[in-house]
């Protein structure tokens, strides 16, 4: 694992630049403009927000090229786009188009149920989802330059994001308490490469930025993710499925910057119209849980 190669450093470098910011899902140029004006640090282009993918069903794919193009021409902040898990060709198309980051995402219908993209082969950086430390380390081993906890996209319910953030934190803490030889069985248990396990055991953190995603609907949800160790927050359906996207987007940005100050989160939360309705996770079947895609 060569984290000091120039190629990997500029990939992780862009992820560093996005820290403390909010990355917003958008489906067209006008939404992208609203996101940029609200202070988003980047936008994520996709064909439908996760809540609509969930309700409409069907195969969810990479967004239409014209839409991504228009978004890239409209905003000056970085533009990300999603490809299906294991869809090497969609990833190449997005890289060639010039998007700044590719999200190999469980929100889209997986193209490969066993393998993820070998991301070291690409010049464009990738972000991937995880539910726990082992999954995060497998994605980093494949070349991901940024990790986001999966949460449950399109649910408007923060409970899965909290579960995944806490799992990563707990496992990082536990690794820090182990002695050298105990890291071998730990790597076996985590199903992750030993060298990476050893790295995080000594550093106490991932070698790439760790952001949160999936279920953020309010400024307080975003602040909660930051309290649990996220370095930035992705907001999907939470903005454009609410009744007041522009104001809510601005409020979430403020809450992420000032998450340590409850007074600011209070002011940001004041006077917002209805949040997205949201789902009870306990009522979803395992097949309906997007976070179970990928491993």
């Amino acid at each position: 694992m060569n984290f000091s190669s120039p190629e990997f450093r500029v990939k992780v470098g862009l992820a560093e630049m996005l820290k403390g910011g909010v990355i917003m899902d958008v489906t067209d140029a006008s939404q992208a403009k609203i996101a940029e004006d609200a202070g988003a640090a980047a936008v994520m282009a996709l064909e439908r927000v996760p809540a609509d993918i969930r309700s409409e069903g069907g195969v969810a794919r990479m967004a239409a090229i014209e839409k991504i193009d228009q978004i890239m021409q409209t905003v000056s902040i970085p533009v990300m786009a999603k490809c299906r898990i294991g869809h090497i060709a969609e990833a190449r198309v997005l890289e060639t188009l010039g998007v700044d980051f590719v999200d190999e995402s469980e929100v889209l219908t997986p193209a490969d149920e066993e393998n993820h993209v070998w991301k070291h082969d690409f010049k464009v950086p990738f972000v991937c989802g995880c539910r726990n430390l082992g999954e995060a380390l497998r994605r980093i081993a494949e070349g991901a330059a940024m990790i986001r906890t999966k949460g449950e996209a399109g649910s408007g319910n923060i409970v899965e994001a909290v579960r995944h953030l806490r799992a990563v934190r707990r496992e990082l803490r536990r690794l820090g308490t182990l002695e050298g030889e105990e890291l071998i069985p730990a790597a076996k248990e985590l199903q992750a490469p030993f060298e990476l396990v050893r790295y995080v055991a000594s550093e106490g953190k991932l070698p790439v930025p760790n952001f949160a995603a999936g279920g953020v609907a309010t400024p307080a949800d975003a602040a909660l993710c930051m309290m649990l160790g996220a370095e930035s927050v992705f907001v999907g359906s939470g903005i454009f499925k609410s009744e007041d996207p522009a104001r809510r987007a601005k409020a979430v940005v403020k809450a992420v910057t000032h998450w340590r100050e409850p007074q600011v989160v209070l002011e940001a939360s004041r006077g917002l119209e209805g949040a997205m309705r949201g789902l009870d996770i306990a009522k979803l079947t395992p097949e309906e849980m997007l976070s179970r895609r990928g491993w």
Partner: protein, 199 residues
Amino acid sequence: MGSNGRRVGVLALQGDFEAHARALAARGVSAVEVRDPDDLDGVRGLVLPGGESTTMLTLMEGSGLRERVSELVRGGLPVLATCAGLILLAREVRHPAQASLGLLDAVVDRNAYGRQIDSAVVALEVCEPGELGADRLEGVFIRAPRVREVGGDVRVLARYGDDPVLVRQGSLLAATFHPELSPGSPVIDLFARTVGRRE
């Protein structure tokens, strides 16, 4: 002197402020994260980090932070600005045009070298090795801005091709690249010498 003692403020609204704080700590300089005007009380230097300049501008509005930063910089506070930080300081920002603090006599084009796939680590030409204390310099460029014009009071310390990439104007030191992401960068050393070591 305020509650921050002899620390250096790092604007922490968004961006790679932690990388800057780590780089300063490695040189014995302690940093304080700046999100509100009060956080600037008593600082002996200020870092404007990389990140998204549009986001930083939006978050500076209405809090008085923008005015306080301008006042301190005009008063001669040592400043290190990298990438988005340089864009914030510039006299004029183009491509697309946006507001700025107008404290550095330079005209800057945003994202002028292309998108992320054009980002790279390159060797720079040092124009003032005596002042920089080094004759070799690495430049980590990430969606970098391009300095198109500089005023008479601006000295160019390093170039990439014809473009100025490290400039100095009075107490301001500004780079279009990210010295905070190059271990042992002489640019951070120079800034650390300017603000002095912690006692």
